[in-house]
Symmetry: none
Subunit: 184 residues, 4 copies
DNA sequence: AATGAATGAGTGTTCATTCAT
DNA sequence: CATGAATGAACACTCATTCAT
């Protein structure tokens, strides 16, 4: 999907259909054999993201099930998993994190919905950690803190071109968030 | 500045000069007696923000000086101060947080610079807390976590129309971030 | 309305907004300060026509009222009146008669409605002439014959740049249609 | 020719090559194995029409030759013949009568030429009727009246889905036109 | 300062036509 | 002959900016 890199480079509003097709080595007319409109390409790019974020969560959340491993390890596995997808889909995430809200109202709303949905998932971890004796905090707010941290930090991580080693990032994030959540 | 509420409502790209002047009760032509371009209004709105965030920080950072009060109280004062300005300038912050990166490349870069500069300031707190025995973490990353949390959580707070009491928000944020930073 | 002459010359589908504005000595952008779309100019041009045809009819039909003048004179007055408006609005009528049905389905339908409505009015004359002893024919069909004749002949008259004297045209039309309708 | 029904339904300008080929059960590319352009299909559809109208006239005009039958019967035969071809080629005639002039200038001119040529043929009838003692009118105008009537009335007849019995239509038309032409 | 009509460069989208398979 | 993906010129419409009043 060459539109992706062009959007990432120029921003949705400053990307011309011709920029996309030029990069893709095709013609303007042909673009419309595959997409109904400029917005639709954007939809395609972004659509997978919400699902990916949630499905990845569900996949990684099994580490918390049945208490097979210590919660700290489970959290690390989670962040490690997310580090992988942020790295693999870095342009998409940059667009989502930095641009999506500014394209138009529709996408601003969608951006916020994605974040809110993700936060709802994250809340499950917080509730799980409560079983392990986490501090008595507003779990919704705590989930919001986790989400904000993950999105903000990974955003920086991508922008910095992965300046930090993945393991160091994962360790530090885990350390910070678990301590913030659990210590009494 | 009536442009502010229009930008917040419609988004920069879908705001017409006429929308702004209509709201302001003036004429399109007159708009250009005050602003050089559509972008300049945006500049004016946002320009104050970067300074506000940093100057507010400097103003609130004095609580950390000379160790006059316990660090926890200093952090609380800081967040309380930020809660005030996020509330007072909620539209501006929403635009900054949700839209700015998507307008065009120039503002995407600016958005990231503002965040990075703010993070640099925040790092001072982290270093200060190290004096009080904070855990040995990468202070830059820790600062990034604080910034992400603050921006992400306040963004949600505004969007939720201040669903949470200011004091509860401040207490929880402080609790979380200080614990995450300091506990061993 | 400069659009009129351009439509007449090039046809709706081959008229570019630029053709219209060039002829009008204005700019493309300004066109849209006055018209919502290309179609709207066409609407404006045509909209008056249906009303004109019917209102003119009503105005001229009073000659048939109260039998003040012989029906032949009344018919002549009618055609004389129509000759005037076809001459005064020749471009508009040419567009209506020759082009309107081919622009798109919407205008094809509209064209037929205008003709049908006009025919309904014309039927009143036929019924009036029946009082004077017209032949027992299907009055709807007779009205259709009158309408077809009027539209077809005036269409030719305009195209021929009024090759025939108005009085001769009026006399002959009257003669023909009245004879066709009344003689036994 | 499936293009015919599509043109009739959507109008030439709103018919896409794909609409035609879909209806024909073939492919866009294959269309161009049979036609040089979109216009050419239209040409094919219409081209036959001018010839048909004139050749049919010549075929039917023999009834006027040698005065073998009364002129009234000859005219009836003529209209009966035309009723048949208008019915048989109703879509084509609708396109010719309602749409052709609006497609572009070329076809507007062609439409008028076809009508003018037909009128020239019709004039022969008028001249023939003069031998039988028709009123002294401008024969060109009378021919124009006949043509207008025939085209206008048959147009309505097709549109009304042949609401009138063919014989009634033929009788009335004949009655009307002959009376209009001949009675003194 | 204030007005809003005028400007015209810019862009998404369409669709007849071509052509490789 | 048949296919349908690819092409790109063309055009309606938008809107930031200007400017005469």
């Amino acid at each position: 999907m060459s539109a992706l890199s062009v959007f990432e480079e120029k921003g949705f509003n400053n990307t011309r259909i011709k920029d996309i097709t030029k990069k893709a080595g095709t013609s303007v007319g042909n673009f419309y054999n595959y997409f109904k409109s400029k917005e639709e390409v954007f939809e395609v790019i972004i659509s997978g993201l919400a699902e990916l974020m949630v499905s990845k969560f569900k996949e990684l959340f099994i580490y918390f099930q049945e208490n097979r491993i210590p919660p700290i390890s489970a959290v690390k596995n989670l962040f490690r998993g997310y580090a992988k997808i942020f790295r693999a889909k870095k342009e998409t995430f940059l667009i989502f994190l930095e641009q999506m809200g500014g394209i138009n109202n529709k996408y601003r709303t969608k951006r916020n919905e994605i974040i809110d949905n993700f936060t709802k998932e994250v809340e499950k971890i917080i509730l799980k950690l409560l079983d392990f004796g986490a501090r008595d905090q507003n779990p919704k707010l705590t989930a919001r803190v986790w989400t904000s941290t993950v999105l903000g930090v990974f955003n920086w991580w991508i922008r910095s071109e992965f300046a930090l080693e993945e393991e160091e990032l994962v360790d530090n994030l885990t350390d910070f968030l678990v301590s913030g959540t659990m210590t009494n």
